[in-house]
């Protein structure tokens, strides 16, 4: 029996779809028993969303009425909906706009940026913008998430393979630190450092004072960024044991050093520790409540 798969994109960057293609030649094998009934990079579908979709991968967060309608339409036809990538699963970087009350940014971008000759916000036949950036599960029921900005191609492959053979896919329940090869230091750092400072190679970045989100982030990318000498920015969202990625990171940082940490006072936006999850954080949840008044 062939499995009917669909993919769809909302407010995102297409990166998740490209990550799907990054499975490479192996993708042809996976697609053998699959009918791609609706997918933007591979086939030209000309009809409204077809019925009886087995698995739908939805990229991007919900930013406009149009996004919302499309998500609902897809949910109606699909048996298993996957929030595909950080934007869809947790709100993604787009969610940072919520720090500024979401919609205020729209006017700002069209009227306050420097080259604009005439100040005009698009309104005709373009979709109505929602007040806030939302993750997919805020508007429809989501059966599974594949986290990451974008997700890791190997992980996508393993989730799809599991689904095709009728198994339940699983994500790693560990944290990035568990797969990171860098050497932990026993001493706590004396100072918080910014990413432009040069770290010692091969030593744990957090122990050197860099804001590495490894401890609060779900494993599964093979710690790509620390391996390249860069702190993890947390794109895979909270790990299994963490409720709220940003809060968990704040907690960990505050506990790291006994005395006042110099550099901690840097003016930081609310979203600093929740770069990909702000729209689904507790803090933003409260903000939405406040603004509704």
């Amino acid at each position: 029996m062939t499995v009917r798969i669909a993919t769809m994109g909302m407010a995102g960057c297409s990166g998740c779809h490209i990550a799907l293609l990054d499975i490479g030649v192996k993708l042809l094998d996976i697609l053998k028993d699959v009918e791609l009934v609706y997918s933007y990079p591979l086939v030209d579908t000309k009809n409204p969303i077809p019925p009886n979709i087995d698995v739908a991968l939805i990229e991007g967060s919900i930013r406009t009425e149009h996004d919302k309608e499309m998500a609902e339409a897809m949910r109606k036809q699909a048996k298993f909906v996957i929030a595909f990538g950080a934007c869809s699963a947790h709100g993604g970087v787009n969610g940072l706009a919520n720090v500024f009350g979401g919609i205020e940014g729209v006017e700002y971008v069209y009227t306050k940026t420097i080259l604009m000759a005439q100040k005009l916000v698009p309104s005709e036949h373009v979709p109505q913008i929602l007040q806030n950036d939302l993750r997919l599960s805020d508007v429809v029921k989501v059966d599974f998430i594949i986290p990451g900005c974008p997700p890791n191609p190997d992980e996508i492959a393993s989730v799809l393979t599991a689904l095709l053979s009728g198994e339940t896919p699983v994500l790693s329940s560990k944290s990035i630190c568990d797969e990171c090869p860098l050497e932990r230091l026993t001493e706590a750092p004396t100072k918080l450092r910014r990413t432009h400072e040069v770290p010692e190679p091969d030593k744990c970045l957090l122990s050197q004072g860099f804001l590495c989100m490894g401890p609060a982030t779900r494993a599964g990318c093979n710690a790509e960024c620390p391996r390249r000498g860069m702190p993890c920015t947390g794109c895979r969202g909270p790990s299994e044991t963490v409720w709220d990625q940003g809060v968990a990171m704040l907690d960990a940082l505050a506990a790291m050093e006994e005395d006042e940490i110099s550099g901690f006072k840097l003016p930081r936006l609310a979203g600093t520790f929740a770069r990909y999850t702000y729209a689904s954080s507790k803090l933003d949840n409260l903000r939405k409540g406040v603004k509704k008044e």
Partner: protein, 162 residues
């Protein structure tokens, strides 16, 4: 996979229909077992008066208070949240209060940003400082009176856990 949704049931807050009705702030205070809880106790025993609507939650150390606890309290309709701990260098877990201070400072900035500024205080005191307890609670009570009710009171009470 995401965990099951944890639904928390609460009784809906009574609609404050009449304008004449006086606003009574609800304050949640996380008190360290070793110090501020003692201070509050002492204040009570010495018959000192402090606002009666301060609900005390005893914790083993201020360092035990997760920022999420504060956010939850606000979400559940508390008008103000106090976090109190032992004096510097007197924390029974050595650095719990220092960690707590840093967390709460960042959290205060975050709350400010989302329009809940001023609804959180962090204070240090010893078990003998009943005066400070009375002072802190009274002035916080006054501040909350001024700020008015928590705008989240009417929020849908649903706590998703993931």
């Amino acid at each position: 996979m995401s965990k099951a949704n944890l639904k928390v049931k609460t009784t809906p807050p009574k609609a404050s229909s009449k304008l004449t009705q006086r606003f009574e702030p609800r304050i949640v205070s996380f008190c360290c077992h070793y110090c501020s809880y003692g201070a509050a106790d002492l204040a009570g025993a010495s018959k000192m008066s402090y606002p009666t609507n301060v609900e005390i939650i005893r914790v083993p150390c201020s360092g035990r208070v997760d920022p999420l606890h504060v956010l939850r309290a606000l979400e559940e309709g508390a008008d103000g949240v106090m976090v109190t701990g032992c004096l510097k260098e007197q924390c029974h877990f050595v650095t719990g209060n220092i960690h707590a201070e840093k967390r709460m400072q960042q959290l205060m900035a975050d709350l400010e940003a989302i329009g809940l500024g001023g609804r959180l205080v962090f204070e240090l005191m010893s078990a003998g400082m009943a005066n400070k307890w009375v002072e802190t609670t009274s002035s916080f009570y006054d501040r909350i009176l001024e700020l008015g009710p928590n705008p989240l009171k009417h929020m849908k009470k649903e706590v998703k856990c993931e």
